[in-house]
């Protein structure tokens, strides 16, 4: 942007032999917009010659030169002979520069018509869904094979990395997972009490809290938090590495990305999720107990008594058994989506969203399957 104070202008003067356009002021990128529109209204004569007189121009940059060149191009289309002799030297060389580079380029990739595009997207989406599913299954297969190899050669496991991710995934999730479990414990107790009081059965609040938390709530809230916290982080980390060509570099260096990136995350989350679930079991029941004590005047001793009667080891196991499976789904979906990143920053965002949605979806589906399974075996 060259500083030029004079207002840009032009003036068309016709004579017997054709016309002269007198250009004046600063023709720069700042003023190019309005000038462009005014120039479109200019009516050039039908024949003869056109003199472009730039003696009064105070400043010209490539945008201004482009406008002048365009004017000449229009004139030539009108069969006018264009005469640039009255342009100053530097301005002429700029005009020559842009003239030599008059090559229109497409700005965006070609678009199809709305309806056609919609149909195409729909078809593609459906086909992709199937293909993605297959790819995910083959990715899981690859991970299982890699796990098998690692079990045979345990020294290949990136132990430091596993511990690091255990801290990120597990220890650092404790405050938020604990808070969620605590609040849910209170909510279940409060809602349960409200309904059960009508039958004079407030004491069963304990059963309600304990069983729902142990069997479902603790593991679900833990899994959902992990999908949002850690699954998304896995996708973003691995995706950024893909963009940075780090994954390609690993492959060429003979470092297996599954072994170095996926396995430590998978192991860390599979180890930590049962522990986190156990932890939210305790906090959730504690929340319910606290509510019962404060709102229902049920002493802690009475609460624990009732708790002992209400739950069995099975209730606890039902929740905890699911934990490693949900964890594996979250880690696999997170890493899988991360490795699929391509292009740019936008893709990282898209895949991260997908990984979270996918893993929560799969967790709920698995949970339903487990519910059927456990009721079939009377657990």
């Amino acid at each position: 942007m060259t500083a030029g104070d004079e207002r840009p202008s032009f003036e068309l003067v016709t004579d017997d032999e054709g016309a002269t356009v007198r250009l004046a002021g600063a023709w720069t990128v700042e003023t190019a917009g309005p000038l462009f529109q005014e120039l479109q209204l200019l009516r050039l004569p039908g024949r003869g010659r056109l003199i472009l007189d730039g003696a009064a121009l105070s400043a010209v940059d490539t945008a201004g030169a482009w406008l002048i060149y365009r004017l000449g191009r229009e004139a030539r289309k009108n069969n006018l002979a264009v005469d640039l002799a009255a342009m100053r030297g530097p301005h002429r060389s700029l005009i020559d520069e842009v003239a030599a580079n008059d090559a229109p380029c497409p700005v965006t990739p070609p678009h199809k018509l709305g309806a056609v595009q919609l149909l195409e997207d729909l078809g593609k989406g459906t086909a992709d869904l199937w293909r993605e599913g297959l790819k995910f299954v083959s990715f899981v297969g690859l991970v299982v094979v890699t796990i098998g190899r690692t079990l045979l050669q345990p020294q290949r496991l990136r132990f430091t990395s596993v511990v690091y991710h255990m801290e990120q995934v597990g220890v650092r999730a404790m405050p938020i997972v604990g808070l969620m479990a605590f609040l849910l414990g209170i909510v279940i107790a409060q809602q349960g009490e409200f309904q059960l009081r009508r039958f004079g059965a407030e004491v069963f609040v304990v059963d309600l809290v304990a069983i729902s938390i142990l069997r479902e709530i603790a593991i679900l809230i833990t899994a959902i938090m992990l999908a949002g916290r850690s699954g998304s982080a896995f996708t973003a980390q691995i995706g950024t590495m893909v963009l940075n060509e780090e994954i390609d570099a690993m492959r060429t260096l003979g470092i297996d990305p599954i072994e170095t990136l996926v396995l430590p995350r998978l192991f860390a989350i599979v180890l930590m999720t049962p522990l986190l679930t156990f932890y939210s079991d305790i906090i959730g029941i504690f929340g319910g107990g606290l509510f019962s004590w404060l709102a229902l005047d049920m002493t802690p001793a009475a609460f624990i008594d009732r708790l002992n009667a209400a739950i069995t080891t099975d209730s606890f196991l039902v929740g905890i058994i699911k934990a490693p499976f949900f964890a594996a789904v979250i880690a696999l979906a997170g890493c899988f989506e991360g490795l699929k990143v391509s292009g740019g920053a936008e893709s990282v965002g898209k895949q991260t969203t997908r990984s979270v949605v996918e893993s929560i979806f799969l967790v709920i589906v698995l949970d339903a399957a487990f519910a059927v399974f456990f009721s079939a075996i009377n657990m």
Binding site: A32, G33, D61, N101, C105, V107
Partner: protein, 263 residues
């Protein structure tokens, strides 16, 4: 060339934690000149460039660009000034979610009022100026080769027809023919627009072909600044090694200075 420098750096000190990159560095760049900045890897050429354009805050010293003090400038003032310079970052720094043409249009859209058609036309000729084929316009940065990214980034840095052009290793990653074309383009633009160019480069051919003056960065400061002849005459060991090494012989510098037979 007028006597008032467009870029005036005095007593610059930059550091990352305990690591001091520059200490008491002075440099002047004058209107309409092309200054080449050289130095070994990690001597702080990119850091100097980033300090001058206000992306890094120095520990001490003063930096004036176009007569305005960069240090202590508000974000808003800096933005206003930034319109008057174009920057080519060492790694391109194209916006990955926009096509190449949209990347070139981004500064136009932000700082000027112009119809889409004119923006598309400007993007087209800039693209051609930097030597990219028209079909590159609709491509996304991820679909470009390394050299094409450099060219696209150069086109974007030229979008607003800046007064000052900051180029960080523009010709690295270009084929020699492309690099020579680039040298020609810079010279022509400078001659026609009165552009001031701050050029960080390792390319001896570029230094030789386009730079009016060369500044050598070593020992945390500018150890020598001047024309190519001054470089060849300089006794500093690194400068000797650089300008008298085997590569400089290939670039024909010795013949230019007339010292000794070619190797």
């Amino acid at each position: 060339m007028t006597s008032d420098p467009v870029i005036k750096v005095r007593g610059l000190k930059t550091a990352f934690g305990p690591q001091v990159v520059h200490d008491n560095l002075d440099i002047d760049v004058y209107q309409g000149e092309i200054i080449g900045v050289v130095g070994g890897s990690g001597t702080g050429k990119s850091v100097l460039l980033r300090s001058i354009i206000g992306l890094l805050h120095p520990v001490a010293g003063s930096i004036e660009v176009l007569g305005k003090d960069i240090i202590g400038m508000s974000q808003h003032e800096l933005l206003e000034l930034a319109v008057r310079w174009g920057v080519l970052f060492q790694h391109g720094a194209l916006f990955t979610s926009l096509t190449v043409a949209q990347n070139i249009e981004a500064p136009l859209r932000e700082h000027t009022k112009m119809p889409q058609q004119l923006m598309d036309e400007i993007a087209s000729y800039k693209l051609s100026m930097v030597g990219l084929p028209p079909d590159a316009g609709a491509k996304f940065p991820a679909e470009l080769s390394g050299g094409m990214i450099k060219r696209a980034a150069l086109a974007r840095s030229l979008a607003l027809d800046p007064d000052i052009l900051f180029l960080d290793e523009p010709t690295s990653g270009l084929d020699p023919i492309g690099a020579a074309a680039f040298d020609g383009l810079i010279r022509r633009l400078r001659d026609a627009l009165g552009l001031t160019v701050f050029l960080v480069t390792h390319d001896l051919d570029t230094l030789h072909a386009v730079c009016d003056r060369i500044a050598v960065l070593a020992e945390k400061r500018v150890i020598v600044i001047g024309a190519m002849d001054d470089m060849l005459a300089c006794e500093h060991p690194w400068v000797r090694e650089y300008f008298h090494g085997p590569r400089s012989r290939a670039a024909g510098l010795h013949k230019a200075a007339g010292d000794g037979p070619q190797g």
